[in-house]
Amino acid sequence: MKARVFVTLKNGVLDPQGKAIGHALNGLGFESVGEVRQGKVIDLELAGSDAEQAKTELKAMCEKLLANTVIEKYEIELK
């Protein structure tokens, strides 16, 4: 099984990296670009085939390690 986890900064948490990217893009002439936020995407290979169980496990991984819930939120995607 393949899973994809998105870890992004919570709204309201400053994202200097995203800001810099937006700035640089505007500077490169991409005026249409407004706010930019950068996050992480983590692709995992999972043994087993039980989607439900995988979801619970992934949630645990996020809470324990993959995301710092003080500043970050996460989304889980199974494919």
Partner: protein, 222 residues
């Protein structure tokens, strides 16, 4: 004073901490491997600077999960002193022993330079030898030292006089909220700070402002 320095994979200021402790306390600290679940019987545990686990994923995230951290938490719960320097501070926030988080420097660059600090809180076992408001200079060397916490947490920290060190006016090297450089735990026995006091205990290296921190600890503990 009996002390221990925890060594994570790719800690790299563990030797510096050891040298400073030995010089200041006259006793060499125990060096504790991250996989040891037992701590030796000590008064102070130091989480040193460095790049534990390469700073991969998030600085301090993987180290906070290591076996030894359970005993470090227990040590702190029993009122034992814990000092987290730089990466050690990051490990402390990642293991929720201190509130908030340390984020990428606002300028998005690693920064190594001596910075001016103000000792804001002297009612602690780490700072009692400094004067309130005293200006000291410690070097910083980090890429992710921008202290973040929500307004409520920041207010509580200030309300409870738990901001031990602040970057002096115009010296904030990383965009930390309210110029916060180092904070204390609720029970004031855990200190995390980004600047490196252990790099300023030796005249030849251009400064001794860090000595008082260790002297405070010695007095507090004896």
């Amino acid at each position: 004073m009996k002390s221990a320095v925890v060594v994570f994979p790719a800690s790299n200021c563990d030797r510096d901490a050891k040298v400073a402790l030995t010089q200041m306390t006259g006793k060499a600290p125990h060096m504790v491997w991250h996989q040891d679940s037992e701590l030796p019987d000590v008064d102070l545990v130091v989480l040193p600077g460095g790049f534990s686990y390469g700073d991969y994923l998030r600085c301090g995230a993987m180290a906070s999960q290591s076996a030894v951290m359970k005993s470090v938490k227990a040590h702190a719960d029993k009122g034992g002193m814990v000092l987290g320097i730089c990466n050690g501070f990051q490990v402390l926030t990642e293991s929720h022993m201190l509130p908030g988080a340390l984020m990428r420097n606002a300028a998005l660059k690693f920064v190594c330079r001596p910075v001016g600090l103000e000792v804001e809180e002297t009612q602690s076992g780490f700072t009692r030898h400094y004067e309130k408001g005293q200006r000291v200079t410690f070097p910083v060397a980090h890429g992710e030292g921008s202290y973040f916490a929500d307004e409520e947490t920041l207010n509580r920290l200030e309300g409870e006089n738990r901001v031990a060190f602040r970057y002096a006016e115009g010296e904030n090297p990383n965009g930390s909220a309210r110029n916060i450089a180092g904070i204390l735990s609720e029970k004031r026995n855990v200190l995390g700070l980004m600047p490196h006091p252990e790099r300023v205990v030796d005249e030849v290296l251009g400064g001794t402002d860090g000595r008082k921190l260790f002297q405070s600890l010695i007095e507090a503990i004896s």
